[in-house]
């Protein structure tokens, strides 16, 4: 009888702990399968592609139909998946973007950075290092939300659309 009570107590404790363990799964790396699952579950439009060397990349729709690219970096052979992500969006512009405008954006906004690429076209990027341990779904959603907010100001203040 004592053993049966012990089992019951253990089962109750397991049931209490299960939701916390599942909801707060911490990762230090991720892959395209996990990321696309989160994107799909949260209503994002995207397509999975790959770079020439086979590294996955995701073309993600943000804002009013704009496209960003989600890159995977730091493929640690010691563990499955990629330890960092980068969101990237660039514009091809006819006119010249003033470097002072780029500097002002970088001074005024926190999450993301802007630069002019080799063709002097404006680019916005944001990097995320997973290797310290994060809750994947929440992290991805906040990462994308911050990028979308930064992107809106980038389009308005730097690109001038």
């Amino acid at each position: 009888m004592g053993s049966m009570n012990n089992i019951k107590a253990l089962i109750v404790m397991a049931l209490l702990l299960a939701p916390a363990a599942l909801a707060q799964k911490v990762v230090t790396a991720t892959d395209a399968t996990q990321v696309t699952r989160v994107l799909a579950a949260n209503g994002y439009k995207f397509s999975l592609d790959s770079e020439n060397d086979g590294t996955p990349l995701i073309r993600l729709q943000i804002g009013d139909g704009y496209k960003a690219i989600l890159f995977f970096y730091d493929d640690d052979p010691g563990q499955p998946g990629y330890e960092s992500l980068q969101l990237y969006a660039g514009f091809s512009v006819d006119g010249k973007i003033a470097l002072a405008t780029v500097n002002d954006w970088n001074y005024n906004y926190r999450f993301g950075k802007v630069y002019l690429d080799d063709e002097l076209d404006p680019v916005i990027e944001s990097d995320l290092d997973l290797s310290g341990g994060v809750a994947l779904e929440g992290t991805l959603l906040v990462f994308i939300q911050n990028f979308e907010a930064a992107f809106d100001s980038f389009v308005e203040e730097v690109v001038g659309e």
Binding site: I7, L17, Q24, L99, Y107, A135, G138, T139, V142
Partner: protein, 159 residues
């Protein structure tokens, strides 16, 4: 019966390890961060700049000095949801916009810009709302910043 008991125990230990390992935070406070910085081997001095804003003056073992600022004070969570690492150096009017843009193109996890006083600044931000394990996340945040700091010193400030 013994097998059932053993199985339930294993399940409990498995779930408990998952729950305990995932001690996620979505905000933090200055005292906690200062304590962790010291634990990680940094000199950390908590300062109040007189306007009620708290900041931590940080120095790494190899003498790199910078500030850690707190943002997004969420009273419902009892802490700050955003951290920022910042170091600025007098540029003396020496830095071109091209050089800063190129630096931003070629480095990750931090950005550089000229502030209103003309100082060239290195900045990195961490949003805790996403849910992080605080100590290793802070450690990695600092490691990434210090790696950028090395390039900032070598390629910009040290010129």
């Amino acid at each position: 019966m013994k097998n059932l008991l053993r199985g339930a125990t294993v399940l409990l230990l498995f779930l408990a390890s998952g729950a305990l390992a995932a001690s996620l935070v979505h905000s933090t406070d200055a005292a906690t961060v200062t304590r962790l910085l010291k634990k990680l081997g940094y000199r950390a001095v908590l300062e109040n700049n007189g306007t009620g804003t708290t900041q931590v003056r940080v120095e790494s073992k190899d003498g790199k000095a910078f500030y850690l600022y707190f943002f997004d004070d969420d009273r419902s969570r009892g802490g700050y949801e955003g951290l920022q690492l910042l170091s600025c150096a007098d540029a003396g009017g020496e830095f071109s916009g091209e050089a800063l843009s190129y630096w931003n193109q070629t480095h990750r996890y931090a950005k550089v810009y000229l502030d209103e006083s003309g100082a060239v600044c290195l900045q990195s931000d961490l949003d805790l709302r996403m849910g992080v394990v605080l100590e290793p996340a802070l450690k990695q945040f600092l490691n990434d910043f210090l790696e950028s700091y090395g390039a900032y010193e070598l390629e910009l400030v040290g010129q």
